[in-house]
Subunit: 217 residues, 2 copies
DNA sequence: CTTCCTTAGATTGCATACAACATCCAGAGG
DNA sequence: CCTCTGGATGTTGTATGCAATCTAAGGAAG
């Protein structure tokens, strides 16, 4: 288990997973004592985990009022995509410019293949997870050490919003093609190509989201 | 006092101020018990403050090894400026596009004037403080609610690096002119103008920093 | 003399007890 | 009937004690 020996990490990983897998829904209350008992820990590490999730943008903690799972409005989602459209093409371009290693390229290609297979099997949740790992790997490859921390707050959006469940087959195929093209652009060390494909990728995703508003009744 | 009733906020504000005013130098060790006694608090709120400062990028906490004031390398600074060059022009453009209120414009102009006076009096530390408030106000005016949190991690750089102390009179005057021009561009609701002035402003600052390496002996 | 192991000290991480604050409901007053 | 005040209850915020871990110094073996 990658869960470090610290109880605070255990709590952080567990809560993060539950939120991302939608086991806990946006707006749900997160009582410290309740979570502590459920996880078999004391309130102290749970508190620490909640604060970290707050700075990640996944939960909202209000003074003396406790924590709730973050709920994103339409304009929040728009803001998030604007920032991704700014930062991720930059990350892709930087990865292409500095030249990512062969091992990283192989990893990215492997994720693309795994995504194709998951799409073929119809496992959309798995697609979403792999997609997150793909974007994270690319951002790590950018070589800018501050970028990952900045983007964690906005990278969770596709998972929670269930983006891929709204894709029709054509859009889905295009999204997967974008992934492979980004890797090719990075491998070719062409920053402009990488940035422009990534921008297309994100704008297409944003378009799909805005045409299919929110799903909840 | 704007310090909220919570002890954790007191500790956070105090530590943040000490780091930004360079009362505590980069690399210095931050023992929890020591800080708790110095601030007249217990270790619990101090711990919380250190974790928040960690996610702000101002301190580094290592598991079981405690916290130190963050120390930035040359490449760290370069990365920070790359991100600012990406995000702050966007913020300025967005502020111009959405149209910031008359009150916010007055505040920005007031800060420009205060900076001019501080420059005339030679109070460079005060210039740095006002400069931070100026950029923060503009970012707040962008209307993107996620931008402030993202930029706090990189906005502290000028304060800690003592940017303005390295400016010659000509560069300083140009920097102040940039500020006023950004406000004019926002008031004119010209996004491209605002973005391009902001980019010039940041690139000039980055150039000054790279020509004058680090100062410490 | 160097290297490795052991052990003592100090510090962080966690659990628990207590204090402060917010929410909610009951009941008096208008 | 509505509004406002007061306490009861539960939650968050803080303090403190104990356990786990890291660092450093000292001694033994090579």
């Amino acid at each position: 288990m990658p869960t470090g020996g610290r109880a605070a990490d255990t709590a952080y990983d567990a809560l993060r997973r539950m939120i991302l897998e939608r086991e806990i829904l946006p707006g749900a209350r997160l009582g410290e004592a309740e979570l502590a008992q459920a996880l078999g820990l004391s309130r102290t590490p749970v508190r620490e985990a909640l604060q970290r999730l707050d700075s990640d943008g996944l939960v909202e903690v209000l003074p003396h009022r406790g924590a709730r799972v973050a709920r994103w409005s339409e304009s929040d989602i728009a803001e998030i995509f604007e920032l991704r459209c700014l930062l991720e093409p930059y990350a892709a371009a930087r990865a292409a410019r500095v030249g990512v290693g062969e091992a990283a390229l192989a990893k990215l290609r492997g994720l693309c293949e795994a995504m194709d297979e998951a799409v073929a099997r119809g496992e959309l949740a798995e697609v979403a997870r792999l997609n997150s790992r793909f974007h994270t790997a690319l951002i790590d490859g950018s070589g800018n050490g501050r970028l990952p921390a900045m983007l964690t707050s906005v990278m969770h959006a596709p998972l929670i919003l269930d983006t891929f469940r709204r894709y029709d087959p054509v859009t889905m195929a295009r999204s997967m093609a974008h992934h492979r093209e980004v890797v090719d652009a990075v491998a070719a060390r062409d920053p402009d190509w990488a940035a422009s494909v990534m921008l297309s990728h994100l704008r297409a995703a944003a378009a799909s989201l805005s045409t299919t508003p929110t799903e909840e009744p």
